[in-house]
Structures are given as C-alpha cells and as structure tokens.
C-alpha cells in the first residue's frame, strides 16, 4: 500500500515537473521579454530554483528580475537581480538595475553597495557608474560632490552628454536653492496676514488669507462697536478672528516647509528618471 502511494506521488511529481519544466528555457524567456509578456515570465520562472542551475538559472533570474522591474514590482526585482553570481555575464547589468531599483525605493546605501560590486566595467559602464554615483550624491544633497564628478565626465567625450548636462543643471539648482526662513514667514504673517504665504511663493493663498482675516476682523469690530465687548456675538466673532489669525501665522510657517519639500521632491523625481535613461539605453 505504501509502495503504491509513493509510486503515485512520484508519478504526480514527475508530471508536474515535466509539464512545467519543458518551458523553462532561457530563449523562451527572452522571447517573452521581447514581446513584453512580463507576467508570463514571472509565471514561467515561479518555483524554478530547485530544477535549474548555472548559466541557465542566471538568465532566467535576470529575466525574472527584468519582468518585475517592468511591472514596477521593484522589491521583487531586486531579489532576483541579486541572485546572479559575480562570474555571470549578466552580473554587471543586474547590479546596475538592482542599484537603480534601490534608488527608486529610497534605499541609497543599498544602491551604493550594489554599484560597488560591479566587476571590470567597460568604458560605457564606467560612464554609467559615474552617472549613478552623481545621482546618488544629488539625492543626498551633496550637490558639490555631484558637480565635481560630472565636470570630470564632461572633460571626456561621453555618449550620455544630455543626461550629464541635465544632472549638472539639477546640481546648480540645488546649490543655488534658497530654503527661506520659517521665522520670517511667521513674523510677516503676524504683522500683515497672508504676506508670509506670499513670501513662501503662494500668492493666491496669501491674498485669500488677507481678505478672509480682513473680513473676520471687520465683523469682530462691527459687533464690538454695536453690541459691546461682552456680548455673545462680539465674543464669538473675536474668538473666530483670533483662531484664524493664529492659524494664518502657523500656516505661513508650514508653507515654508511645503516649499522646501516640493523643491526636493521634484528634483528627486527628475534625478531618478534621468539616471534610468542611460541604463535603459545601454541594456536595451
């Protein structure tokens, strides 16, 4: 009875493995990748690890990582890229893509680590490395280090002059960026409501605050003059005016924080997109 069960399990296992394993080939994975059937690549390579090894496994792991990368399932892509050993032809490519994926997730140390593992880069890969490192410097607000590296690259002829120029522009913009003072914004709004927001670059919101507080102030004054300071309507309107006045000062301070965040976020998105272009171009 036990022998029969084991035989049955063995037959079922062979059938499962046999039915799936015959498709798990690198050239088929490449065909799926060329046709952008990324979900199919993931289905193909699911559970393959116990069956395949060597160069075939490296290719399949690479295509799996590439599929996750294109489906924007970045963390899973990183896992697959990191399975490729250093002696593989696909290692450098995988490390570049893994590093960029880490940059995308905001894990800059992981990205630096992956880039440091790159083995014997050719001429173009050295340029790619420099571009990725200068991007990392910029993302860590070390614009002067980034500019130094980019200027070194500009002195040599490069295939990626457009990206280098863009990164230089971002570096200069970051260096010249004036973060503005929260204290000044608060003080301005305390004296003339709304001017703190105008100082933070939000003209419309500043004018809106000014008009709103002018109106509320007018209502408070009118009620005090007509009904006296101790009447319920005077207290209500004065209380409302005070609340909105304090809110206007606080809002002006917060708007400086928003101003800074908006600048850095827009730069971050632009930098991450710019350093991806040469990778996609070289590893098409």
């Amino acid at each position: 009875m036990i022998r029969k069960r084991i035989t049955l399990i063995y037959i079922l296992l062979l059938w499962f493995v046999g039915s799936h394993a015959q498709y798990v080939q690198a050239d088929f994975a490449q065909h799926l990748s060329d046709n952008r059937y990324y979900q199919e690549i993931i289905d193909l390579t699911d559970g393959m690890s116990f069956q395949i090894s060597g160069a075939k496994a490296d290719s399949l792991n690479f295509y799996r990582g590439w599929a996750f990368f294109n489906l924007q399932r970045v963390p899973e892509g990183i896992v697959s890229f990191r399975k490729i050993p250093a002696h593989s032809k696909l290692f450098n490519r995988s490390m570049f893509l893994s590093a960029w994926s880490s940059v995308y997730l905001g894990h800059h140390d992981d990205a630096r680590h992956d880039l440091s593992l790159i083995v014997s880069p050719d001429k173009i890969e050295k340029e790619l490395l420099a571009i990725q490192y200068s991007g990392l410097h910029l993302l860590n607000l070390k614009a002067d280090s980034a500019l130094l590296l980019l200027n070194t690259m500009s002195n040599q002829a490069s295939v990626y002059d457009d990206q280098i120029d863009l990164l230089k522009t971002y570096s200069l913009e970051t260096l010249n960026f004036k973060p503005k003072s929260m204290a000044i914004a608060g003080l301005l709004s305390a004296v003339i409501p709304g001017t703190g927001k105008v100082y933070a670059g939000e003209k419309g919101a500043g004018i809106g605050s000014l008009l709103l507080l002018a109106g509320m102030g007018g209502m408070a004054v009118e009620n005090i003059l007509k009904s006296g300071i101790t009447s319920w309507n005077s207290i209500m309107f004065t209380g409302l005016f005070s609340l909105f006045y304090l809110g206007n000062v606080y809002g002006s301070i917060i708007s400086i924080k928003t101003y800074r965040e908006r600048f850095y976020e827009s730069k971050e998105q632009a930098i991450v997109a710019t350093i991806l272009i040469p990778l996609r171009d070289y590893y098409r």
Binding site: F28, M219, K226
Partner: protein, 258 residues
C-alpha cells in the same frame, strides 16, 4: 480549473507559438491563449494577443472562432464600440457557422449599451432569424419589434440643470425630477438670505453681508453640483428602464425554442 493551471496553459500555448514554424499552428496557439486569458479575466491581454493575428491569412475554418473571441473579449472588456466594429468587419466570415448566433446576440447587446437602436434592431433580428420553427420565430420577432419600437427615453441635460440652478436655486433639481430636493435647496437659500437680510437691516452691515455671502456662495455652488449629479442619476435610471426588458428578452429568447 484553478488559476494556477490557467497560467500554465497560457505559457504552454505561447511556447507552442514560439517553437512552431507553421502559421496555422501559431494562430491556433494564439487563439487558445486568448481563450485562457479570457478565463483569467485578463480581457485586454487576450485582445492584445488576438490583435497580432492576421485575419486575412488565417485558415477559413479558424476565422469564425477568431471573430467570435474578438467580439466577446471586447464586450467583456466593456469596449462596446470596439465589439461592434470587430463584429461588423467579421460578419461575412461567421454567416452559416455555429458562431453566427452568439455573435449576433453579443452585437445586439453591445449596440443596446450604446443605445444604437438601428444595430440593436439589425443584430437582434438576425439573432432571431435562425429559429427553425416559423410560428415561434414570427411571435418572437413581433415581441422584439414592439420592445424596440418604444421611443428612446428623453434624457435630461446636466448642463441645463446646472444653468437652471444658477438662476433659481433648486430649479435644477426639479428639472432633474427631484422636486423635494429642489424645494429643500430653495428653502435653505431663502433662510440664509433671510438671516443675512435681517442682520443687514439691524445695522450689522459687514457681518450680515460677509457671512451671508460666504454661506450663500457655498450653498449655491453645492446646489449646482447636486443638480448635475441628480440629472446624471436620472439619465442612468431612464436608460436602464428602457434597455433592461430588451436585454432580458434577447438573452432568454432562444430558451423558448427548447
């Protein structure tokens, strides 16, 4: 069949298409793949696969199945215009085949979704014309004709509702058929105006004007949006009331032949 097996089947079909050099085999594999993707509810992916097949160079025996899958996948993907155009292009290929009935039904239903009565009539009649029993066929055709001869519902114009509400608050909602809602909105405006007016007349000019104007402005723009929303809701209801009997009739028509 479980989802895991569908993905294996999907891969297997693509593998066949990859390995084969015969065009007919590749076409069949792609058709099979599209059918599997349909089971996986990946309708747009299935359509993408079928889009790579050249209908003209496909074998005659396979074309009707291809047309049927294209029409069905477009319909399931809720792209009814696409379903209609694919069906109309492939109409001659499905005549006198097992796919003529289901395709005609699908096209009639797609046309109904688009309120394209001419095509509803054409494809619906085509669908009913294959009933062998003449008496039953005539009876069903008459029922179908009486259903589609009803006038299309007069839909309300949301832009008109918005304009009415701009001039007279609440009138947009009444135009959309919600009298209670419209009167309530009008009443609210009247109350706010009344309070502001009383404050103004009492000498509280700034308070009366500012608070009244602020609240009125919010009420007014809210009322306009509500009028548009009610209009669109009413239109959906009117279309559903019109289309549902026709839809139910077509789907259940052939059951009467059994």
């Amino acid at each position: 069949m479980k989802q895991g097996r569908y993905s294996d089947a999907n891969l297997a079909y693509e593998y066949v298409a990859f390995k084969s050099t015969e065009q007919s085999v590749i076409t069949l594999a792609k058709l099979g793949r599209a059918q599997v993707l349909k089971k996986m509810h990946a309708y747009d992916r299935g359509l993408k696969i079928l889009g790579t097949i050249n209908l003209i160079s496909t074998a005659d025996s396979v074309r009707p199945a291809l047309v049927y899958e294209m029409v069905l996948l477009s319909f399931l993907n809720k792209d009814y215009q696409e379903s209609l155009s694919r069906g109309q292009m492939g109409l001659s290929l499905i005549s006198d085949t097992e796919y003529e009935d289901p395709v005609s039904l699908l096209l009639a239903l797609a046309a109904l979704e688009e309120l394209d009565l001419m095509n509803v009539n054409y494809f619906g009649s085509r669908y009913l014309s294959n009933i062998s029993n003449q008496d039953l066929r005539d009876k069903l055709q008459n029922q179908f004709n009486s259903l589609i001869s009803k006038e299309l519902p007069k839909l309300k114009d949301p832009e008109k509702a918005r304009k009415w509400s701009t001039i007279i608050p609440g009138s947009g909602q009444i135009y959309a058929g919600s009298i209670g809602d419209g009167l309530y909105n009008f009443g609210l405006h009247a109350v706010v105006l009344g309070i502001s007016g009383w404050a103004f007349l009492s000498g509280y000019y700034v308070s009366g004007w500012l608070s009244g104007a602020t609240v009125l402005q919010k009420l007014h723009s809210g009322g306009q949006l509500r009028a548009v929303d009610m209009c669109e809701k009413k239109n959906r209801l009117l279309i559903q009331e019109y289309a549902q009997p026709i839809q139910e009739f077509l789907i259940s028509a052939k059951n009467q032949t059994k």
